[in-house]
Symmetry: C2
Subunit: 332 residues, 2 copies
DNA sequence: GAGCCGTGGGAGATCGATCTCCCACACTGT
DNA sequence: ACAGTGTGGGAGATCGATCTCCCACGGCTC
């Protein structure tokens, strides 16, 4: 009743464990085709599965990549993890996803757990630009680590991110072209590099006295709070740029309940282009990340030489996706 | 530069590997407090981490539970995975989540991969009541497997699910009490046990000639298709029960664009009580699963004796969550 | 026909932590 | 003083797959 081992397969096929291993693991070594067939046949008949722990112990490699995201409650990170999973699976590996619950402490624990010999390398979307650096740096000394979508100061490793400044320019230019010039920013989570960069790019473009609403976290609830504040100041504003889709969702919902027409009176944009945006009324204009390209690059860096992982930030070009929330004809 | 091993810690502390292991793994054996301190001190100083593969190989246990869900694109399954993760983590374990991409074939592969010695037990939310059974049965012979949220025929193992019939009765009674009697069902994915049970319960209550819209899958896009069909038949209907929240979201969005007031003309209910429902306008009435209780029970079955895992279905009581989409005063 | 070489296959070591003995030593009671 | 008892600690075996040798054998050259 116990699981069959390689030894059992070898015995059934009348060969040694070494030969059975060569056949089943595909070691680069010629084996008599007839013996190979016998081994494969025996393995199938016995229902043999190679023991992952034993192989990992011997080879020192697990074929698994880990990714730690700030929170799976944010659908953007689900999409992000999925994009990575597809790349990993295409390369014959497996992906393990961990949730840091938006806490640098839990993030450090998750990194610690995964590095206990469970993964060959780690992608991290750091919770905080300041507070995540130390744990990442420590991890990067023990295994390949690449930051994804966000960077962290003092991480000691490379980051594959979006060009947030370019993205902000795309949004502002789009709104300006529509004749919307009184633009407010709803920004959240300045502790993260993406939150901070988006805020900085907005301020750089519109000046420090432009209307901004700062919120602690990227959640829909924060978006609703922002909605109330913007509704109060509706006279000063004809467009709102949100630092994340989840914010835009909460914002639009609250504006509509406050009888502020979107986009009639106020145009709204999101950030991240999560799938849910198309389903809202109105669908929301947003910024799309080239996640597949970013994932491919991040995995290449992870598996490549350590010398390519010096602390620096690689930025990928964003893409503007226009939807009804910034309709050209709606401006009063 | 190579990672420190237990041997190194033992040497640094001046004890044998056995003693070091007893201290660090917490084996039930008294060790001189002074030695224990020396070992822990040495481990900390060297930055020792126990090698997961080696421990797993020796003990035959990984401390990891796997869960295979139909699709992480459906936020309900993200919530479900999260509820399980919390329970697992509280018990000191780790959870690995796999996505079956709504395909029984991929589902079988994921199960196969996870069972290669990576997990101690597996929770599966089967894609299909008919097509998932075989793979689950095979898996259940090799490791503890418990079905979650859905069951599969011929699985050979226990399932922890919601009482879908009771949930449907809660919804129908609620709508009846509001004076809505011309109720339509939007059902999807009859291949899954939950889809089939919800449809069956509706038909049992309202008769086979009640309005039903059948869709292939639980997606928002399917919900929009349903919205168009319902809008065409608006004269025959004053309430729509959706078999999943994602359907309700797409449906409401489409009804509103077709100028059908919700809940003014048509009340709408969802199913699963995902978090996004509160953010819509109107927020949607739904059915809440007692996920924490279900997860706790499922894990207890997973770790308990195999005799408790005979093929049967355990059902948990649903809870009705009333929101504005079935507002009592809105009925024309 | 003797020595070489290339090729396929097997015996045994190995990865690192844990577990099973078994031993040494101190302490107790008679 | 000695046998009995209990307690802490160490040597070596073990988990299962892979890797490193090394051997056997058939074909080759000269």
């Amino acid at each position: 009743m116990t699981a069959p081992r390689l030894l059992d397969v070898a015995a059934a096929a009348g060969v040694s464990r070494a030969t059975a291993s060569r056949v089943l693991a595909g070691t680069p070594r010629n084996v008599d085709p007839d013996l190979a067939r016998r081994v494969e046949e025996a393995a199938r008949r016995l229902g043999y599965r190679t023991n992952h722990s034993a192989r990992a112990l011997r080879t020192g490699t697990t074929g698994t990549v880990g990714v730690v995201v700030p929170s799976l409650a944010n659908p953007y990170f689900v999409q992000l993890a999925d994009a990575i999973a597809q790349q990993v699976r295409a390369a014959g590996g497996q992906l393990v996803v961990s949730d840091a619950a938006n806490s640098p402490t839990i993030e450090a624990e998750q990194i610690e757990t995964l590095l206990g010999g469970r993964v060959d390398g780690l992608l991290v979307v750091p919770v905080s630009a300041a507070a995540s650096g130390a744990a990442v740096r420590a991890a990067a000394k023990r295994a390949p680590v690449v930051l994804f979508d966000r960077w962290a100061r003092g991480s000691g490793t490379v980051a594959v991110t979006l060009d947030n400044a370019a993205a902000m320019r795309l949004l502002l230019d789009h709104l300006d072209a529509l004749g919307r010039h009184r633009i407010a920013l709803v920004a959240a989570d300045q502790a993260s590099s993406s939150g901070a960069e988006r805020l900085a790019a907005f301020t750089a473009a519109r000046g420090a006295d432009a209307t901004t609403v700062l919120l602690p976290s990227f959640t829909t609830d924060a978006g609703r709070t922002a909605g109330r504040r913007i509704a109060e100041r509706r006279a000063e504003v004809d467009a709102v740029v949100c630092g994340a889709d989840v914010l835009a969702v909460g914002l639009v919902s609250t504006l509509q309940r406050s009888a502020v027409p979107v986009p009639g009176e106020i145009a709204v944009t999101g950030f991240d282009d999560t799938e849910m945006l198309e389903l809202l009324d109105p669908p929301i204009t947003s910024i799309r990340h080239p996640l597949a390209d970013m994932a491919e690059r991040a995995l290449a860096l992870l598996q490549g030489p350590a010398a390519d992982r010096t602390e620096q930030v690689e930025r990928f070009a964003p893409q503007l996706v226009v939807r009804a929330s910034t309709d050209a004809d709606a401006h009063a």
